[in-house]
Amino acid sequence: MTVRVVEGRFDPATELAAFARGRSDVGAVASFTGLVRDEHGGEPVLAMTLEHYPGMTERQLARIEAEARARWPLLDVLVIHRVGRMLPGEPIVLVATASAHRAAALEACAFLIDWLKTKAPFWKLEETPAGARWVEARASDDAAAARWER
């Protein structure tokens, strides 16, 4: 399985250590890790809860991964997304790509996180000193995802 939704904490370094290990046809590995920040829009963030739509999430992630593999000659792909409650500094998502050459690995990695952000059913609830609030979708995320439409 190269797409995983996990409830507990995961360690991107450990996952990356195992990713594409022992393959000497891989010349390039790109990765992206998204983490909980302790601040958003000028307000402290105490914790973050990721809600998702079980079943549809995995289906969408698998579809996005398939699209990446169709567009670039990837030798390996990994997508891990955490759900549940997490604290600042903890990883939310890891995307990794392996290819013979760097352009494919770098572009596919950016594509995967851009599409994941707008096409996978996750929702963020932030806990702040003033209470909990649902994070609003950003137009810049739609713009980033639209770069890859064709």
């Binding site: 997304h81 707008t118 096409k119 996978a120 059913p121 609830l125 649902w134």
Partner: protein, 83 residues
């Protein structure tokens, strides 16, 4: 038909899911929204703002004109914010 709500829509409606049997004239996602709005005034409020309530039919994103024929599960939720 199973109706599911996620994120703040779940809080507005006050429930995560319900089993409903919409009347025959509810043939599309858009009509289902209107019909559900009669039961849940705060759902109707949310649907009044454009682009705020998204839908999925049997776990596939769906527009308002998507037919409901054969659908077993319809979900409503705000724009996604993962990653």
């Amino acid at each position: 038909m199973r109706i599911r709500y996620f994120a703040w829509l779940k809080q507005r409606v006050g429930l995560a899911e319900e089993e409903l049997d919409p009347p025959p004239e509810v043939t599309t996602v858009g009509r289902l929204k209107a019909w559900l709005g009669e039961r849940h005034p705060r759902f109707a409020e949310a649907c009044a703002a454009p682009g705020v309530v998204r839908a999925a039919v049997d776990q596939e994103f769906a527009d308002d004109d998507r037919p409901l024929r054969g659908a077993r599960e319809v979900a409503f939720f705000p724009p996604v914010t993962g990653g």
